[in-house]
């Protein structure tokens, strides 16, 4: 018995409970805090999945920056508990039903093994070798062992994904300008 699996389930349970609380709390601040909690649990899971760097970035960026921003906005607007936050029940029921169907469908995707994905993805006749369709990259654990936590992610990021990386910088710049223009009353 290894220690990873039970820890995983602990984190998984934590994240699901937090997520449920996030979408059910009336107070937006509580929601935000429970979402932070979810993200924290996910960061833990990332560590278990050999993605330590992503885990750190998850906490720094998501919990440390994005959610703080949310919290700020909520505080600034001071939107407290609405007297009746829930939608009228038919709408709510419809939402629950739709989400349930979607969840069921997502779970059904579990039936897609490598072989089946490869068969549907490829243009070749039915039984194809999945290894040919999905070339295996270096798995996370091996890459971390070879290049360290940061290097493992940095290597593909600055080689194969360099152009997208540069484009995201433009995206960020655009977002900064957009946010300033939108939020500032007078430039």
């Amino acid at each position: 018995m290894d220690l990873v699996t039970p820890v995983f389930w602990v984190f998984a349970g934590w994240s699901v409970v937090s997520a449920v609380l996030c979408i059910t709390r009336r107070n937006p601040i509580s929601s935000a805090l429970w979402l932070v909690s979810t993200m924290f649990a996910l960061a833990g899971i990332y560590v278990l999945l050999d993605a330590q760097f992503i885990a750190a970035v998850q906490v720094i960026v998501y919990a440390g920056a994005i959610m703080v921003l949310f919290l700020f906005v909520i505080m600034l607007l001071n939107v407290g508990d609405a007297p009746r936050e829930w939608r009228r029940w038919p709408v709510g029921l419809l939402g629950v039903g739709l989400a349930a169907v979607l969840g069921a469908q997502l779970m059904m995707l579990g039936g897609y093994g490598r072989q089946r994905l490869a068969d549907e993805f490829s243009t070749q006749p039915a039984p194809v070798n999945p290894a040919l369709v999905f070339p295996e990259g270096m798995a996370s654990a091996a890459a971390v062992a070879e290049r360290g936590v940061v290097g493992a992610v940095a290597e593909p990021l600055f080689t194969a994904y360099l152009i997208p990386f540069e484009i995201t910088s433009v995206l960020l710049l655009t977002a900064v300008i957009g946010a300033v223009v939108l939020a500032k009353k007078k430039l």
Partner: protein, 98 residues
Amino acid sequence: MLLGPSLALSAVLFTLGVLGVLVRRNAIVVFMCVELMLNAVNLSFVALAQVHGLGGQVMVIFVMTVAAAEAAVGLAIILAIFRHAQSVDLRQLTLLKG
């Protein structure tokens, strides 16, 4: 490896995010539920990166970047809307009415 459980957890979190988007009517909370969905997808990426190489982790970084940009702009929009309508209740925001 935990690939299967991770993907299942991802699906559950994603569904919860969708549910939140559908049933909540506070714009900020809806927005947070979108972030939850993004996180669920990130989990899938990370889980698959274990097997299929680090492209998945790189993608998570991109998703986070986009999420950050989205949060900045989205919250700025919500601020602007609040300034305009004194509310972030989606039921009262019917400016898009055709």
